[in-house]
């Protein structure tokens, strides 16, 4: 015990840690282990056939492709929004800053029906896109739109604090030495915020992979075309195919864990970079 924990005069360690571990085990760890144990009961060939069937493969492709495109969009525009919020003054800035977190606070189902209404052929935005031959609602493009919405705050909120902390002395020095603003941005500012940008990208990507509520309304949910992986789990559950649903869930869990690991490494990199700067 003495090697496990350093001595402290404060009481309550055993109670607090004991309760934390018990609660975490009952609510999170034991139920999560159920997915893995249930899948282990499944013969390997059957597991493999389930998670690599054409319809499931098509759903991975859509889920990963749309999530990647959405996270990339959020990286570009999230950086722009963070930059504008930190560096410039404009009317309504405080309200805009507060509303950035809307996708965190707004229930996903509400976001889903609102985006569907907007981007449908007769919607406020859809009516301008339809004549151009761009159909958003009920196509894979709709999945991309929904995932962009829910991932929007991540890049802004990871890049914003790093931008705020950048000392202007470096930029002033660069300017004195003859660099223009673009050079200063690319050579001085961008390398400083790059780890935070990557972290935000990874967070938005990880969130998009598992997203369900906002997507199912706008996607149209056609098998092989606009069906995301989480929806397939629901479909299998509704057909009482628990083994199939669990097998796909395990694949998703493994992907989530790998992403979590990558995010932790990125955050460690980001902290180290900021500590050195």
């Amino acid at each position: 015990m003495s090697t496990f924990k350093q001595h402290s005069v404060l009481p309550g360690f055993n109670l607090a840690l004991g309760f934390t571990l018990l609660y975490l085990s009952l609510i999170v760890l034991i139920p999560l282990s159920a997915a893995f144990i249930r899948t282990a009961e499944l013969p390997w060939p059957q597991f493999w056939a389930t998670v690599t069937s054409p319809r499931v493969l098509a759903s991975y492709q859509l889920t990963f492709g749309a999530s990647f495109a959405a996270a990339l969009t959020n990286a570009a525009f999230g950086l722009l929004v963070a930059w504008v919020l930190v560096r410039y003054q404009f009317p309504g800035k405080r309200i805009v800053d507060a509303l950035i977190d809307l996708p965190f606070a707004l229930p996903t189902a509400v976001a889903g029906i609102a985006l569907t209404a907007l981007y449908a052929g007769n919607g406020w935005i859809g009516q301008f896109l339809e004549p151009l031959g761009i159909k958003v609602a009920f196509t894979p493009l709709g999945v991309y739109v929904a995932l962009t919405f829910i991932g929007l705050p991540f890049v802004v909120r990871t890049v914003q604090p790093v931008l705020e902390d950048i000392e202007t002395e470096l930029e002033e020095a660069a300017a004195m030495l003859g660099a223009n603003r673009l050079q200063t941005f690319l050579r001085i500012i961008f390398p400083t915020i790059f780890p935070a940008l990557m972290t935000g990208f990874a967070l938005a990507f990880a969130r998009a992979i598992g997203e369900y509520g906002s997507v199912i309304f706008i996607a149209g949910n056609m098998p092989m075309i606009s069906e995301i992986t989480p929806l397939l789990i629901i479909t299998k559950l509704e057909q009482y195919d628990y083994a199939g649903a669990t097998a796909i869930a395990v694949v998703m869990l493994l992907i989530s864990f790998v992403l979590l690991l990558i995010i932790n490494l990125l955050q460690w990199w980001s902290r180290r970079r900021n500590a050195l700067a």
Binding site: V9, D101, L106, M176, G213
Partner: protein
Amino acid sequence: MTTITLSHPIKIQQQTIITQEPAWVRWMLIGLALTFLALFLFVPLISVFYEALKKGVDVYFAAITEPDALAAIQLTLTAAAIAVPLNLVFGVAAAWAIAKFEFHGKNILITLIDLPFSVSPVVAGLIYVLVFGLQGWLGPWLIEHDLKIIFAVPGIVLATIFVTVPFIARELIPLMQAQGTEEEEAAVVLGASGWQTLWRITLPNIKWGLLYGIILCNARAMGEFGAVSVVSGHIRGNTNTLPLHVEILYNEYSYAASFAVASLLALLALITLAIKTFVESKVTPQKGKLSHEH
């Protein structure tokens, strides 16, 4: 005094010349950012209220006061009223152990607390079906004792707890780590008990972080869709939460009613953001900046 007022504008002017973009670049970037935000954030938000009130105020109030809607409101409030306090106790306990003591495996514990954020909501619902469902580990035992968890209220509460586990803990851990242990140690040395120390020293110090965590936890608890959808069974007036009620009305093509119920949730989101902004203004940047959820 005069030197301060004089030097200030000069410094700003210097910054403007060397480290700021020309005005046209600034306004172009602001315009581009606001256009993006308008398309993806502001217009969707406005459209919720527009669609809700499109058919008139009567339809709106009829939709949010019909019995099924009221039952959904009640269930949503019940689930949040159970999930938020439990996660609050968990958050304080976890933060006390992690922030006030040094022990091995701390980083693993922090990662485990964050785990529910990286699990798809649908998978979160599924794992409870695997434990408590008819074919689940505890299924036969539950039937024997005439208990129902899946497709019933307890399942909804459990799924809500799962998805909101990290919210309060992850606000409190960095805050309490930044505050250190000196004040608590002084209290204990002077003879205060552990509970007295917690109530009189620690909790007053972390009150804003606590409030911040609670409102974010509450917003997610009331708005959760995927996890609750899997375990609910969608029994109208019985196991329907507000977000599920929105879905049912929408799938029945009752768009105005669906958006009316959705507008209640959008209002909740706006109130959450308003309180969040207020709390952030209360916390000084030096005293541990409140982290953002992920």
